[in-house]
Symmetry: C2
DNA sequence: TTGAAATGCTACACTGTGTTGATTATAATG
DNA sequence: CATTATAATCAACACAGTGTAGCATTTCAA
């Protein structure tokens, strides 16, 4: 962790992050130039390069911050259930996501680059696949990527459409399709 | 459909497509300059602009061609089973994908931009969700994106790792996790 | 063989990049 | 408040990729 006591630095970085999230609502990260980003944030381009290498570096910083918030958000939970992800945990995440819909709409959309999906996969507090020890290692890996991308895609659509359903509705939907499969909806 | 009888045009476009697929094995489409692409393809930059607007235009053309091949590949199938996607259909796709592993590794990887996933979603021959008419429209949409992205992510991993498993193994895995959920693997 | 079309070649203005050094503005400290 | 440290701004720079244009050259199809 870095110490950023200086108000100027915090303000600059905040402006840059907000600007990137805004721009990423409409266009892909690769199409966002450092120049346009700085103009939107009203920050000098030299200042940008003093803090980040490029847009992707800034985006990664935003993703990191979001992931830290989520993990911290989940730090005090109980692991009583013997399932990869519980309703309680999932719904708590969704509440946080919905509260920061703009941010996650940018991070999870096609405009992001989908790096964050792999980060989510690595958070053991969310998905616990150790209970599938009877399966081979590769099968577990396949199940993991299937589960996380499937869930994230539902969140993507949910966010793109303006989170019309409640977090509980989405949580139930995700858990049912994940555990029981799509045929359980017949 | 356009007619491209001239050998020169076909050769040029083939070289460009091959070059882009090659470059996309290692770097994101946004990082591939038209200049580098043309150098790799040994095609003049002016010639490139005579056919395509930019890298993305060329990529879209490649995706289109691949989708056309898949749909044509599936044109003569029987719809006897009452399920969204049958083993027969899925396995036939996987055979085609495995035969063109390099191409689909590029198209389906993070280096692509994941446009093709939405194209796949629109092919009614692959996923038939009409049998879920008892469900609400939004639920069906959620199930569809969940199914397609989950399946594609498995294919991505399969391709990245060099398609070590047989097409039948992957087909079985996909259908089981899709229909019965991950808990069926306990 | 010949006309048509595709490709190659060169040059051009334009834009964004990443860096540098000097200057201004502002935060932190005693 | 005054001093010091440092962050942000500004102007300028070389560099690279873009998209376009005109003209020369090569290749194809008839």
């Amino acid at each position: 962790m870095e110490k950023k006591l200086d108000r100027r630095v915090k303000y600059t970085i905040m402006m840059l992050k907000d600007a990137l999230v805004e721009l990423m609502q409409k266009e892909h990260i690769s199409k966002i130039s450092v120049k346009a980003l700085c103009e939107r944030a009203d920050v000098n381009r030299s200042t940008f390069y003093a803090h980040f290498e490029d847009q992707y570096d800034l985006l990664h910083s935003i993703e990191q911050e979001a992931m830290d918030n989520i993990t911290h958000y989940l730090s005090r939970q109980d692991y009583t259930d013997n399932i990869p992800v519980s309703f309680q945990v999932l719904n708590r995440i969704l509440v946080y996501v919905k509260e920061n819909a703009g941010l996650f709409r940018a991070l999870l959309s096609d405009n992001g680059g989908s790096n964050i999906q792999k980060d989510i996969l690595k958070v053991p507090e969310i998905f616990d696949f150790q209970i599938y020890n009877s399966q081979g290692e590769r099968t577990k890996e396949y199940l993991a990527v299937f589960a996380i991308t499937g869930c994230v895609s539902i969140l993507q659509k949910w966010l793109e459409d303006g989170t019309p359903e409640s977090t509980e509705t989405i949580s139930d939907l995700v858990l049912q399709v994940l555990y029981k499969g799509i045929t359980s909806f017949r």
